[in-house]
């Protein structure tokens, strides 16, 4: 009789509870890994040769050289920072009407679809791909980068703003409507106070993202610190590259702490 009861406790599965599914998943994962690693072509001799270079990079990172390329770094930083600020401001200004238009509880159906379409297009494409095209159209330099970041900001802010407007407390909007307020007054007195703290928070967050992105789009010619970094790596000047990376990390950290502090202060 005793063997009818299990004598040891076994941890029950948490995610996939069906035994057959679990087995199928495990076999599938192993099969995929075998296939994927099988098609991996790695030139181990090149990797081994690169390790020495990697060591040099780590050394460069530990002993960064801020001085010898300082003029280039300064120029790149100025471009990146100005690009970040202007694109965030313009992006937010454009995305506010689009966000309001993409909120189902505020906009008529036709406008809703148009605005959601704009958001989808802006979010679907990678910043770097947009940057390639805008550099081709507007020429090299931070102006193309500014346009890229503004475009990317629209999708981000407008979507989150629209979702936020859709989730507001209807009772407050109802109360304002009951006073006979017009649509503008409704937006101004019922919607805006509810979403403003979050909009400011999102804008600060996007400022942070835009700075990080501005470090990347320089690789395809859209100006900023990314261009300087690309040049430094192409010249194998790992100590300058290390310095640039440290500056980027430092600014991102300052921006992150600063924006979280500012958000707390504003709310």
């Amino acid at each position: 009789m005793a063997d009818a009861y299990p004598t040891t406790w076994k941890r029950p599965p948490q995610i996939v509870t069906d035994r057959r599914w679990r087995l199928a998943l495990q076999i599938g994962v192993v099969l995929y890994l075998v296939l994927a690693i099988g098609t991996l072509e790695v030139d181990w001799a090149r990797v081994a040769a690169g390790l020495e270079r990697g060591q040099r990079f780590v050394m460069g990172f530990l002993t960064p050289d801020f001085t010898s390329r300082w003029i280039d770094i300064r120029q790149g930083l100025i471009e990146s920072l100005t690009m970040t600020l202007t694109s965030t401001v313009i992006g937010v200004i454009i995305s506010v009407p689009i966000g309001v238009g993409a909120a189902r509880n505020l906009a008529p159906r036709a406008i809703y679809y148009v605005c959601r379409g704009i958001i989808a297009v802006s979010r679907a494409l990678q910043e770097i791909i947009i940057a390639i095209f805008l550099v081709a159209m507007f020429g090299f330099g931070p102006f193309a980068g500014f346009l890229t970041l503004s475009f990317a900001t629209i999708g981000f802010i407008a979507k989150l703003l629209a979702d936020d407007i859709e989730e507001i407390d209807e009772a407050q909007a109802e109360a304002i409507r009951a006073t006979g307020a017009s649509w503008w007054q409704l937006v101004n007195y019922a919607i805006q106070p509810q979403v403003m703290p979050r909009l400011i928070g999102l804008s600060l967050y996007r400022l942070d993202i835009n700075f990080r992105e501005s470090a990347v789009i320089g690789i395809v010619g859209a100006g900023g610190i990314g261009a300087t970094l690309n040049t430094a790596i192409d010249r194998y000047e790992y100590d300058s590259a290390g310095a640039i990376l440290l500056i980027i990390i430092g600014i991102v950290m300052v921006a992150e702490y600063g924006s979280s502090y500012l958000r707390k202060f504003l709310q």
Partner: protein
């Protein structure tokens, strides 16, 4: 009962003092914007900007019709791209788990030495885009898929590590205490008290990051780290715009598909 004598006839949302501060804030922002705009556009050649609509029409005209016969050639790079994202996510998650446990306040072995190091790893990994990691790795270990995988993995540490350590910090302390009360060793506490609580979050985060990584791995080829980006770079270099259209459409389809898969999986888990 004292009477309020200094009230205004018209209701206003804010006090005058608050309004003044707000206006000054906005003024400062506008001034900063104008200044930044002038610094940024100092070297802009406006003739190129004015020329942009013509250029756009030109490129747009060259991009259609897409050269669909190019599609079969893209299948191998697409497989590479998916491998970069998947293996990179795998590597990133494996590295992120110990970092997350060290960074979480309730599981860290040392508050003052290891925790700040783990937090720095997370910030450093998060603030450097995968394209920059790829740029470095291509220079170090040579062009190819491996550089892409390592770049994606290094970039994923920060994202997964941050979300995971927040999940660990939010675990229910009572369950951990219950496991401790049975006389479990620290390893057993982690295994039976914490792991079951963060499991759904862990899978959710991993799948979410995989979805982001699919997106990012499509462009890593631009700096030589393998995948479909290599084909994009090659086509752009020879100005083969009909091929560029095909590649972009394929990237878009892949991204939409991976987003759908990740949304389904996350919905099933959480």
């Amino acid at each position: 009962m004292s009477e309020i004598t200094h009230h205004s006839e018209v209701w206003a949302h804010r006090t005058p003092r608050k309004r003044l501060v707000m206006w000054l804030g906005w003024l400062a922002l506008v001034a900063l914007f104008v200044w930044c705009w002038q610094v940024m556009t100092e070297n802009t050649i406006w003739a190129f900007v004015a020329d942009a609509p013509r250029q756009a029409a030109d490129i747009g005209g060259r991009m259609v019709p897409p050269r669909l016969s190019y599609l079969p050639e893209l299948m191998v790079p697409l497989w590479d791209t998916i491998n970069i994202a998947t293996l990179g996510t795998l590597g990133g998650v494996i590295m992120a788990v110990p970092v997350a446990f060290i960074a979480a306040r309730n599981t860290t072995p040392s508050q003052h030495i290891l925790r700040p190091i783990a937090l720095f790893i997370i910030v450093a990994s998060r603030s450097i885009n995968s394209l920059i990691w790829a740029l470095l790795l291509v220079a170090i270990i040579g062009p190819g898929i491996l550089a892409g995988i390592v770049a994606i993995a290094l970039r994923s540490i920060g994202f997964v590590g941050k979300l995971l350590y927040e999940a660990i910090e939010e675990t229910d302390a009572r369950q951990i205490e219950a496991v401790q009360a049975t006389g479990a060793s620290p390893a057993q506490v982690v295994s039976y008290g914490i792991v079951p609580q963060i499991m759904p979050a862990f899978w959710g985060i991993s799948v979410f990051r995989w979805d982001i990584n699919i997106r990012e791995s499509t462009i890593l080829g631009l700096v030589g780290a393998g995948g479909i980006g290599l084909k994009l770079q090659a086509s752009l270099n020879v100005l083969a715009w009909p091929q560029v259209t095909v590649i972009l459409l394929l990237i878009l389809a892949t991204v939409v598909l991976s987003e759908w898969v990740s949304a389904r999986v996350r919905h099933a888990i959480i």
